[in-house]
Amino acid sequence: MRKVYSRIESITGNVITVIADGVRYGELAVVSTRYGESLAEVIRMRHSEVSLQVYAGGRGISTGDEVRFLGHPMRVSFSDNLMGRLFNGSGRPRDNGPALTENLIEIGGPSVNPAKRIIPRNMIRTGIPMIDLFNTLVESQKLPIFSVSGEPYNQLLARIAMQAEVDLIILGGIGLKYDDYLYFRDTLEEGGALSRTVFFVHTASDPIVEALMVPDISLAVAERFGLKGKRVLVLLTDMTNFADAMKEIAITQEQVPSNRGYPGDLYSQLASRYEKAVDFEGAGSITILGVTTMPGDDVTHPVPDNTGYITEGQYYLRNGRIEPFGSLSRLKQQVNDRTRDDHRALMDGMIKLYASYKESLEKKAMGFRMSDWDNKLLRYGETFEREMMDLSVNIPIERALDLGWEILADSFNKEETGLRTELIERFWPKEAAEAST
């Protein structure tokens, strides 16, 4: 039986200190207060003085409360029973199901050996043309959605969760509004995707320390499923809340802040989570799609900035659409040569024309006269936005490519598209071809 300590020396924010021995760094303890039990983790040790971060927060803890060390670091149960279940940031059930205790695994494990990584090769179909066609999501990729408060990023994530061609989805909610949490649950339930989803949700009203645990728990579970051959998609929303939780805790611990109050290891902390994305050779894979809201729509804010340096591209969600400019999937080149022969050319061609459309739009706004070419571009741009960019469009990539040609044919002659003749011959819509001749 392990020792129980009944004297708490100090309480600062969420951190308590006890005099104890035989404790190991990173070990977990249970703090029993009159409001219930909470887990706490050893974050600093100095001689016999042990500082613990209390998951449920320091509020209401009495100096006379009991602290019982468990002799192991934070663990989470791993089995197929996780499917369809909901947990909080400490891994306790949020639904009315039973607590899971079998097959406990440690969280925050070691990094994957770079020599064991392979070059990514499979695309993940999402049914969203702005992703599939223009910035293809690739298995083992880590991609954030850069957005601002008020944008439908959670709706987008929910849609991807329902439509993405993966075996398993792990949704990590960090500082999620309760409504959003209910939205996720209901949407996935209606869509029938609940049975292949595991939720780890920290809502905005939960103790801040639990926010820190969500990515680690989600990714530890994802890693195990990945090793068992499952293709796992991890959705994390919102990573800015995660960074803010880190900031809050660092400041209460009197750490020297580096940039706008964030701790100096923000980059390393974010990287150690995002870098869990991997394709295990001969087993499954982990793909991470996170949401990073940009305070003040400022991409140079430390959180989106550090994220951009870590991830393999980013999607910008603005005005309810995935922006074609700025959005980038760095790994798309690995897969989009194997979808269909016209994929790359159409992707570039349509974006170039869309850029010209934007220029014409600007000219129009400044009161310049519109040429025939401008009018064609305007027609094209509007059709493109309506039929392709709208988030409600849900079609497979093959259909999206056909649609691309149809949109082009609707506004332009063959030679105006700037695409290779050989491709035009093969893919130009038949009906339009007849109409234009």
């Binding site: 050996n113 020599a115 392979i118 580096s258 980059y267 870098e275 140079t300």
Partner: protein
């Protein structure tokens, strides 16, 4: 001296405090004993009997009272034949071998020698019994890939040594004794083909440091012609995310005209290293006809690997570079990214509770960065030959703003600055180096007066462009408009390159000089046009031709045909060089 022992008294993140019994030195390596695991650590502060150690591993599970063993050795790397083709972490642990032992994940506390112990090397002695040698002088060599790997007196042996016996030509393992030497006092030492050297000390077993003057050709036109890097020089590539820092370094690591390339992937994405890791063995080095891997060492301590080892990784890399320089070779070290290394220092400094400097970076940031870049250089060795280490480091400034401590500290010490711009990368211009803001202090392939003249046109063209945004094309004088077109043309056909085109992706010195001369005859010319429309149409036509010309194989029929077309197009509208350009050409003629 006996090795000291100690006990852990405090733990904070990856820093442990140890109560020490015995003498220890700064930067000495110690091991925290955790059950059957030994976690490598480095002493970073000593106060009385208490020492602070940074642990190169995850510290989870360490308890107060755990044993610590010190080694008396500073953090060192192993030097000897077999380093080329190595893929290792920041502490020189070979990653493929680690993977064989522990599978997908990096197990902590597992350290393997980086030089294969069982492999034999064909040793040929070059010294004979009775010869007197000092540190860094060779007494034999083994073939390593395409190089003669010299077997030298270890750099840590400061006396003059007389060879008492030396092994005959034959196959030996790195741990076999190949020579026995005696020092002035008669003490005898057995020498093997391997020895160690502390990473944080520059290797200084040379006679002289020389001024870097020879260009190090990267086959990127914008760099070699306008922003050159010298052999033995230093340069930095700062840029916001997505501007193409890593891509530029990857391409440089393939094309650079040096003997050996050392890639230090320091705190960046693992995926990017994997591309190098998997592709290099299959790519052929055009110079040697062998796989690129044979001239490469990859040190990767990617972003999710322990932070302290990240700090060590750039030192490991530069020490290996200096080692090969001692053999008279030209080595290029590419560090990506030095900001992550600086951040690792910041994390440690925070844990040590040092008074923070700007943006919480430690106050010694500048001197540490300077110390690192100063390890580059051309040196004359004891045998009269020269070798060089050139260093190119990327910088990842927060928010893409160059006014931050790491970029500024780096700019103070490097010889060339290749600043990447978001605007250029968004416009899909490769390389995205900003030709207006960047600079270089080294001489390039083409003499500076001519390149400065060309760059001036770019500057003026840019000014005209800015002005046109306000007054419109109508309000711009024809002469100004031509300057703008010239600048735009220079950018489009010379400063930009098509990285996907097999010919245009890497351009030889000869070709750069040749093409630049032709381009100069246009840039320096007085051009006659009737109207702006005519001028624009002309330049667009010429540009198309020039881009085709750039993709044509050097000296091929196609190349010659396009060249004569371009020359006649230039002659058509040129009424000769303007006086200043003519003076430059004359001057160059005289110099040549």
């Amino acid at each position: 001296m006996v090795t000291a022992k100690g006990k852990v008294v405090a733990i904070n993140g990856n820093m442990v405090s140890v109560e020490v019994d015995g003498d220890i030195s700064m930067n000495e390596v110690g091991y925290v004993i955790l059950g059957d695991k030994r976690l490598k650590s480095e002493v970073i502060r000593i106060r009385g009997t208490q020492a602070e150690l940074q642990v190169f591993e995850i510290t989870k599970g360490i308890a107060v009272g755990d044993d610590v063993e010190f080694t008396q050795e500073l953090l060192a790397v192993e030097l000897g034949p077999g380093l080329l083709t190595l893929v290792c972490d920041g502490l020189q642990n070979p990653l493929p071998e680690l993977a064989e032992r522990s599978g997908f994940f990096l197990e902590r506390g597992l350290y393997l020698p980086s030089l294969e112990r069982e492999r034999t090397w064909h040793f040929t002695p070059t010294a004979k019994v009775g010869d007197t040698l000092t540190r860094g002088e060779a007494f034999g060599w083994v073939p390593e890939g395409i190089f003669e790997h010299k077997i030298m007196i270890p750099f840590g042996m400061y006396d003059a040594y007389t060879i008492a016996s030396i092994s005959p030509e034959g196959d030996y393992k790195v741990t076999d004794t190949v020579a026995t030497v005696t020092d002035g006092n008669g003490a005898s030492y057995d020498l093997t083909m391997r020895f160690e050297w502390p990473v944080k000390r520059a290797i200084d077993a040379y006679v002289d440091r020389l001024k870097p003057e020879e260009p190090m050709v990267t086959k990127v036109r914008l760099i070699d012609t306008f922003l050159p890097v010298a052999r033995g020089g230093t340069y930095c590539i700062p840029g916001p995310f997505g501007a193409g820092k890593t891509v530029l370094q990857q391409i440089t690591s393939r094309n650079a005209e040096v003997d050996i390339v050392i890639v230090a992937a320091c705190g960046e994405r693992a995926g990017e290293v994997v591309e190098t890791l998997r592709e290099f063995p299959e790519l052929m080095d055009p110079k040697t006809g062998k796989s690129l891997m044979e001239r490469t060492i990859i040190i990767c301590n990617t972003s999710s690997m322990p932070v302290a080892a990240r700090e060590a990784s750039v030192y490991t890399a530069v020490t290996l570079a200096e080692y090969y320089r001692q053999m008279g070779l030209d080595v290029l070290l590419l560090a990506d990214s030095t900001s992550r290394w600086a951040q690792a220092m910041r994390e440690m400094s925070g844990r040590l509770e040092e008074i923070p400097g700007e943006e919480a970076f430690p106050a010694y940031l500048e001197s540490v960065i300077a110390g690192f870049y100063e390890r580059a250089g051309v040196v004359r060795l004891k045998d009269g030959s020269t070798g060089s280490v050139s260093i190119g480091g990327t910088v990842s400034p927060a928010g893409g703003n160059f006014e931050e401590p790491v970029t500024q500290a780096t700019l103070k010490v490097v010889g060339a600055f290749h600043g990447l711009s978001r605007a250029r990368s968004d416009a899909r211009k490769y390389p995205a180096i900003d030709p207006l803001d960047s600079w270089s202090k080294y001489p390039g392939l083409v003499d500076t007066t001519a390149t400065e003249y060309a760059r001036e046109i770019l500057f003026r063209g840019n000014e005209v462009d800015q002005m046109m945004k306000v007054v419109g094309e109508e309000g711009t004088a024809l002469d100004d408009y031509i300057v703008y077109l010239k600048g735009d043309f220079l950018d489009a056909v010379y400063m930009q390159q098509n990285a996907f085109d097999p010919v245009d992706a890497s351009v030889s010195t000869e070709r750069q000089r040749h093409v630049f001369d032709m381009l100069f005859s246009l840039l320096g010319a007085e051009l006659q046009f009737e109207s702006k429309d005519k001028a624009r149409t002309y330049f667009y036509g010429l540009r198309q031709r020039f881009l085709d010309y750039n993709s044509a194989e050097w000296d091929s029929d196609e190349f010659k045909r396009l060249e004569s077309e371009i020359v006649s197009m230039i002659d058509e509208i040129s009424s000769g060089l303007e006086p200043r350009a003519e003076r430059i050409v004359k001057q160059r003629g005289q110099d040549a």
